[in-house]
Every structure is written in structure tokens, then in C-alpha cells.
Amino acid sequence: MNGITENWINSIEKAIESFAKKYSFIYAKKERELSASFEIGCFHTLTDFYEKFSKLTLRNLIDGKYRYLTTPNGNPVNFSYVEGLAGKELFVIRQQVRIKSHLAEDVAFTPDIVVIKKNAEITGELDPDYASGKRKFFFVNSSDVIAAHECKSINPFPELLVSFVGMLVAAHTWLLSPTDRSKVNISGIHLAPSLFVGGAASGIHKRMVQSMEKNMPINIILGLHKGSWDLLDSSSGKNRIKP
């Protein structure tokens, strides 16, 4: 190791040490808080997107605060949500609302963020196979889903990308097949079902993402840790839909 590079190592280590002294109370968090942060970042990004075309209103605030539903176990009625109005179309953006799929009976799952029709009914049923029948099993029907979005604060890999296709198919009744792009519309007010990913891709994985976005009504939004938050950037070419 030569002198210059040795100095480089020393200077970085010193800088990291003083950074840690000053900021570790900010960044030393529970795993749950980190994933919550990422999900909120994605949620903000989505509302930023909608604010360009719609009037958004935060509903059901509690003491002026937005009460975020963090698990599908909670009753969505008790939590805050975002209501949007674009032209005459009313829609709602919620988190952690379970979707009952049209694909087959008993197929239900919970995307991180879901955009549903304003009049969508959130049903709560007691089921002996769920929480021993003591708590209600809440869900919306997939026929009311405009777009289901998922957030992953990790680096992208092919299996992650492909698994999003499963969610796409199970969550959207308006979709005839995974490659049905009939609802994709350049002036659509809704962001197509999107997978938000923290890490960036390179080479062959980037090509895979481009191909999936070109052939399916979806977006795979990469590099969010790096700051690719503007979904309306003219170069981003994100798919929009008009269901």
C-alpha cells in the first residue's frame, strides 16, 4: 500500500468515526423502522405522482396526524387514507389493504400500497381459520383495484421481478393476461401497478426490467435509494393506465 492510499484509508475511517458519533442516534434503528421508512418514501412518491393530475385530500387524520395502517390485521376504517379526484374520477390510496383475488376462492394477499375505486367496499368477515375467528378478516375485492404496488428495499434480482407478475395477475380483474397492455395510456392518470425497488440494476437485469415494462402494464422503479424518485421525469417513461 503506498502512502497516498494509506492516507485515504485513514481519512475515510476517521470521517466515518466522527459521522457515527454525530449521527448514530438517527440511523441506528430497528429493522421494522427501516422498512417502514422505505415504504413511506414510496407512498410519498406515489402521491407526488398523483398530485400532478389530481386533487388529493388526506382523510381520517387523527389529531392532525396521518395514521398509517401497518398490517392487514387492522381495520382500515380506523386508519387514515388519501382520497383523489381527477376530473370526475374519485379514487382512494391506502396501505396494507388485503385483496381477495378473482383468480380462485381463498386467494388473498396484501400489497404494500393499493389504489382502489372510491366506492370500493372494505369487507370484514369472521373466519374460524383466521385468528381463531376472533378478529375480522378485512379485504377488498380485486374488481375494485385500480393498481396494487409493492415496495422492496433491496437490490433487484430476477426472481423478485418475476414474482411481481404473480401479484399483477392476482390483483387486477381488468387484466386479461400478464401482457395485456390495453389499459396502458400515455395520458392515464394512474400509475400502472408498480414494483418500487431500493437498489439499482445493471446489465442484463436492467434489460429484463425494460423488457417487462415494455410488454406488461407495469413499472419496475429501480434505484430509489439513489434518489430516482421523480416518476414524471420525462426520461422515466413510466407506464400509466386508464382502467
Binding site: E31, S37, H44
Partner: protein
């Protein structure tokens, strides 16, 4: 565990510590493989005085950024011009995402970005996915950017 990783993972949740450590180990294994393969970008870095210690520092910072600071910073962007202006978000009984928290995270992010500038390619290098991406970004910055 190397010094940088040790400092950055101090006080972290054990699961996060494990993830950071695992990522650094995996990246180090890959870079050793690249060395065996006589990877031209790695050779270039070595010709410029870089050894495994340098890569370990970069990988430690990369892991910290991707696993800890990047996700935290996601929720800390300015919200002044949006419907979220001055509306905190409460997440269960555990956390509140408000302006004060956002400002603190932004300060931490800024401070870390300043340190990252000392690495060829800066934050862009640190957000590389695999060891080969990171090594290539280091090489590219080292070769074509004046500062290094």
C-alpha cells in the same frame, strides 16, 4: 469485521448488523474471484494502489447505505410543496415521521454523502448491486474523472 463496518454497525438491530456483514462478506468473496480472474478493472485499481482493505471500506459503506441510510432517507425528502406539508405520519405506536425527524435524517444523509465523495464515483459507486458493478464504477471514475 473490518473497522469501518464495525463502526457503522455499532448499535444496529442484530438483524441489520447481520445483513450488513453478510453483504460485505459476499462482495469480498466476489472481488477475490475477480482478482483470480484477472479482471481488468480490478487490475487497474490495484495498479493505482488499491488493495482488499480499500474494497472492504467501500463495500462496508455501500452496505450501510443500501441497508440503513438509503431506506431511512426515503421518507425524509422535503414535503413542503405537497399535501403532506406539516402532516406527520404515525406508524403504529412506535414511530412518527415528522419534519424534525426528516431534517435530522437529511443532515445525516448529507454528511454521509460528503464522505462518499472521497470514493471514486461517490454515492453512485456505493449503490452498485454486485462487486463487479462497484469495481467497474470505481475504475470508470478513477480513469475518467479528474478528482481521483
Amino acid at each position: 469485521m473490518n473497522n469501518t463496518l464495525e463502526i457503522l454497525s455499532e448499535g444496529q438491530d442484530p438483524a441489520i448488523k447481520r445483513s450488513m456483514s453478510r453483504r460485505v462478506s459476499a462482495l469480498m468473496a466476489s472481488v477475490r474471484y475477480l482478482k483470480k480472474q484477472q479482471n481488468e478493472y480490478l487490475l487497474f485499481m490495484e495498479e493505482h494502489g488499491w488493495d482488499m482493505n480499500h474494497f472492504e471500506i467501500v463495500f462496508s459503506m455501500s452496505s450501510f447505505y443500501l441497508i440503513v441510510l438509503g431506506p431511512l432517507a426515503s421518507s425524509a425528502r422535503g414535503r413542503a410543496g405537497s399535501v403532506w406539508r406539516n402532516v406527520p405520519i404515525t406508524w403504529g405506536n412506535d414511530f412518527q415521521f415528522d419534519n424534525q425527524r426528516a431534517q435530522q435524517v437529511r443532515n445525516a444523509h448529507q454528511a454521509f454523502s460528503n464522505i462518499a465523495r472521497r470514493i471514486p464515483g461517490g454515492l453512485d459507486t456505493l449503490t452498485g448491486n454486485q462487486a463487479s458493478d462497484i469495481v467497474f464504477k470505481l475504475y470508470r471514475a478513477m480513469k475518467y474523472e479528474r478528482n481521483y
